[in-house]
């Protein structure tokens, strides 16, 4: 699969397919990567090192900062695969790369492509947006 690159990079990890959209601000503890949104069905699950699959986006414009802080704290997702082109997460990744030289690829894929990724599947993302199920 080839995604549209919102923030480039290479990564691999186990997919974490979110049942509901997640706002990083108010929804993720950057110091641990844990989902803290009390309304989220995956409350308590950690995004750290996972290939996060999120069909829709929602919530706060502070999510750029929170994503960048997860990168600084070493608790960022390995990659973020989105069903919509989301500026806020893409910019969080871009800022983290500027500051720390660490890249978290953020890609936009079609809903059908996202559906083909099962929770827990091993996924790799290469530079330029190629997504491979391992």
């Amino acid at each position: 699969m080839k995604g549209r690159v919102l923030a480039d990079g290479a990564a691999a990890g186990l997919a974490l397919v979110l049942d509901e959209p997640l706002s990083f601000w108010g929804g993720v503890d950057p110091g641990s990567g844990a989902i803290t949104d009390a309304r989220h069905p995956q409350l308590g699950t950690s995004v750290k090192g996972r290939v996060l699959v999120m069909r829709a986006v929602r919530g706060s414009s502070s999510s750029s900062s929170v994503l960048a802080e997860t990168v600084r704290a070493g608790c960022a997702p390995a990659a973020v695969l989105l069903g919509e082109p989301d500026l806020i997460l893409a910019v969080g990744a871009a800022a983290a790369e500027e500051l720390y030289g660490i890249r978290v690829p953020v890609l936009n894929l079609s809903p059908a492509e996202l559906d083909s990724i099962a929770d827990g599947a091993a996924v790799s993302v290469s530079e330029g947006g190629e997504v491979t199920l391992l």
């Binding site: 919102l6 959209p21 706002s23 601000w25 108010g26 929804g27 950057p30 110091g31 803290t36 949104d37 009390a38 309304r39 829709a56 986006v57 929602r58 919530g59 706060s60 414009s61 502070s62 999510s63 750029s64 900062s65 929170v66 960048a68 802080e69 990168v71 600084r72 704290a73 919509e84 082109p85 989301d86 500026l87 806020i88 893409a90 910019v91 969080g92 871009a94 800022a95 983290a96 500027e98 500051l99 720390y100």
Partner: protein, 405 residues
């Protein structure tokens, strides 16, 4: 500039256009990454080139004694707020810059705003144009004075593609009640996601406070950056105008069952919806209270004080607090035991007194985020219900405008 160009690429813009102002959310401390970014800008000698207001920060600079948390974290929050002032931003520290005389753009102006509720209000109610900018991009646009010519900066993208039609079972009495609007916002966010929607069937000429509550909730449950309320918002004198003369992609009827379910979701405390449930905290002013809302708190208190042990807190902008001080309103509210918070918000900073009892709010946004952010159980109600509940120390419910399920 790299960030602005990156933004333009993501949005698919062919060129950049000038802006007349910005609202920057990056001044709220979310960890050292946020300080590192600001210091990178300061070290590079950056300054904003357009009038720029600042969103809430981590602490109330005017009332620092209200901070109950780690003093080191307070220091970092203050440092970041100062950093953005050094970059040339105005120290407004409010999430509702549209309530400030010098923070509100005119209809049709191109601006770069962050803060999800402010973005929605700017596009929908003011009719100025911004994309859904986040931290880092907001200050990058303010420094360059440019935004990508894309998305909601362009007329065609402001067209409603989804219509939410209020069903005939929604009673007129509920439409006159404040509590409908945040609940409708939650429904809007869930239904619309990031699409522009028009809401048809509301009374015309809705107050800005109601539109503010609606938009803030919609930007919490969804990624809404603009909506039209037919008959109230400037680009929707008619449904046809909101649709720009085209057909909607989807029309959804919203009835009482969906509204009641959304209202009930806003209350997380066990039994909290029922009258008589004891409460420990009432938090109002998310987004920051307008003067009209501060006056409504005084009116609903009617000279009474919160019950012993109940904290009644209202967040507002420092500029509006100044007006309320001059007017005597702030003094009267304080003398009745109301706490007034500025520059920050009670769900992002350790401000509220620890209480084993639930917190009550009139804000869909606060109800959405507070349980995760500060670990409280929440009861949702109208401003009137909140204030009277504070006085009684337990949940008080208005005459039942919501009807039985």
């Amino acid at each position: 500039m790299r960030l602005v160009v990156r933004t333009a690429e993501i949005l698919g813009a062919e060129r950049l256009i000038p802006i007349t102002g910005a609202h920057v959310d990056s001044c709220l401390y979310h960890g050292e990454a946020t300080v590192d970014f600001a210091e990178r800008l300061i070290d590079g000698g950056a300054q904003v080139t357009v009038p720029t207001t600042l969103n809430v920060g981590g602490i109330d600079l005017l009332h620092p004694e209200l901070w109950r948390g780690d003093p080191v974290a307070a220091g970092r929050g203050r440092l970041l707020m100062d950093h953005y002032r050094m970059l040339g931003c105005k120290p407004t520290y409010t999430c509702a810059p549209y309530q400030l005389a010098d923070g509100r753009p005119s209809f049709g102006e191109q601006v770069a705003w962050a803060e999800s509720n402010a973005i929605v209000f700017c596009n929908s109610v003011v009719g100025a144009r911004t994309e859904r900018y986040g931290d880092f991009t907001d200050i990058a646009c303010a420094i360059t004075g440019r935004v990508p010519d894309a998305g909601l900066h362009r007329t065609d993208a402001r067209r409603a593609v989804l219509v939410l039609r209020l069903g005939p079972d929604v009673p007129a009495a509920l439409m006159r009640d404040d509590s409908l609007y945040p609940v409708l916002g939650i429904v809007l966010g869930r239904r619309a996601g990031s699409r522009v929607a028009a809401i048809d069937g509301l009374p015309p000429g809705l107050s800005e406070d109601r539109l503010k509550a609606l938009g803030a909730a919609a930007a919490s449950s969804g990624a809404v950056a603009m909506f039209h309320a037919v008959g109230s918002t400037p680009e929707a004198p008619t449904l046809d105008a909101a649709l720009q003369g085209r057909d909607a992609e989807e029309v959804v009827d919203i009835g009482m069952a969906e509204l009641r379910a959304a209202r009930d979701d806003l209350t997380t405390a066990d039994g909290g919806a029922d009258p008589g449930t004891p409460i420990g905290i009432v938090s109002l002013g998310t987004p920051h209270a307008s003067l009209a809302e501060l006056r409504a708190v005084e009116r609903e208190l009617a000279g009474a004080r919160p019950a012993p042990g109940v904290e009644l807190l209202v967040s507002t902008a420092r500029t509006l607090l100044e007006d309320a001080e001059e007017d005597g309103l702030a003094g009267r509210l304080r003398s009745l035991g109301v706490e007034l918070l500025v520059d920050t918000c009670s769900y992002i900073a350790p401000i509220l007194r620890p209480s084993p009892l639930p917190a009550m709010t009139d804000s869909g946004k606060w109800a959405y985020y507070a349980p995760g952010n500060i670990g409280v159980q929440v009861v949702f109600g109208s401003l009137r219900e909140c204030v009277r509940s504070a006085v009684e120390g337990r949940v008080w419910r208005d005459a039942d405008v919501w009807g039985a399920a």
